[in-house]
Amino acid sequence: MWQALHAEIAPRGGAVVTVALDVLADRAAPWVQAAAPSHPSVLDASHVTDELLGFVNVPMAVWVDEHGRIVRPAERASIDPPPPDTPVPEGLPERLGQMMVEVRKIPRDGPVYRSAILDWIDRGADSPYVLSPDTVVARSAERPATHARAAACFELGHALFQRGGTDAAAPWWREAHRLFPENWTYKRQAWTLVTTPEGQPSDLIQGPNDVYEGNWLDDVVAAGGGDRYYPERVL
């Protein structure tokens, strides 16, 4: 999807760069190989872009103009067309059915966001989607002391994961989750590492586990449901 957009905008002076928030490069690599991108595809194993740019979930994006100025801060960034609006199939395991209900509450307005990108690529600073520098800063996420500390805890946990796996990382990642529960990259990253069977692709269900208090479904419901899964975006 992003490679197709890049191919469309590259001749018009635009570019896509994808940043994989993955502690394990070998989990991200098969996806990149399958997409065969002609754009840069980079790895952010310690989630430093969360700290520097304000990502709290995926997909999220930042727009950077030709002068190196951010013209839209981190925001929800799906460009996919909405899937068919079919009922949740009957007979699914209860938790899986509940997950599908919450997933369907996530705003599905990919074509609108894609159109905004194309408008900016073609019109640059004249695009109505370009924000002033003051607005960019004002719309970037607040950073209370708890969120700043969570960033340090996640990065330390990542360094310890490299040395001793989940046993070493989990105390610090639990603390990051407690301090910044709205950051889904911290939580989903940690959960999938303990719920994915050996040798399998990353687990997307991220159910209850013995290492972390939270899990995808219960945390999404506690946060207010799928429609609260991303920070509000105003185009």
Binding site: V19, L52, V71, P144, A145, T192
Partner: protein
């Protein structure tokens, strides 16, 4: 920022955080914070002083002898609309990429993950 001691190279600190050590203190853009004693005799920065002056959380894992210094608390994630320098490895392991290399192009920087 990951640390294995409580002294950090000033250039490495500036590259990660944007805060530079200057005679008037620790400065980012036009903002300077007085930080007496922050620059050690060997030219490196005293992390405890820097953390206190810039409201950066400092966490420590005793068993592994590692510290991590978080971003400044308070305010917003972005201090300005100028994109920070960002250098990351390519997923295929063939090298690295820097955000500054995209100058001249309108760039969509997209976060995604396998999970």
């Amino acid at each position: 920022m990951l640390l294995d001691s409580l002294a950090v190279d000033a250039e490495a600190f500036a590259a990660r955080t944007g805060w530079e050590a200057k005679p008037e203190g620790l400065c980012r853009g036009e903002v300077c914070v007085p930080a007496p004693g922050a620059v050690r005799a060997d030219g490196r920065l005293d992390v405890r002083i820097v953390a206190e002056r810039l409201r950066m959380p400092l966490v420590h894992d005793d068993a592994h002898g590692l510290w991590a210094l978080g971003p400044s608390a308070g305010g917003r994630t972005l201090a300005s609309a100028d994109a920070p320098e960002l250098t990351l490895p390519l997923v295929d392991g063939s090298g690295s990429w820097s955000l500054s290399s995209m100058r001249g192009r309108r760039t969509i920087l997209v976060a995604w993950a396998s999970w």
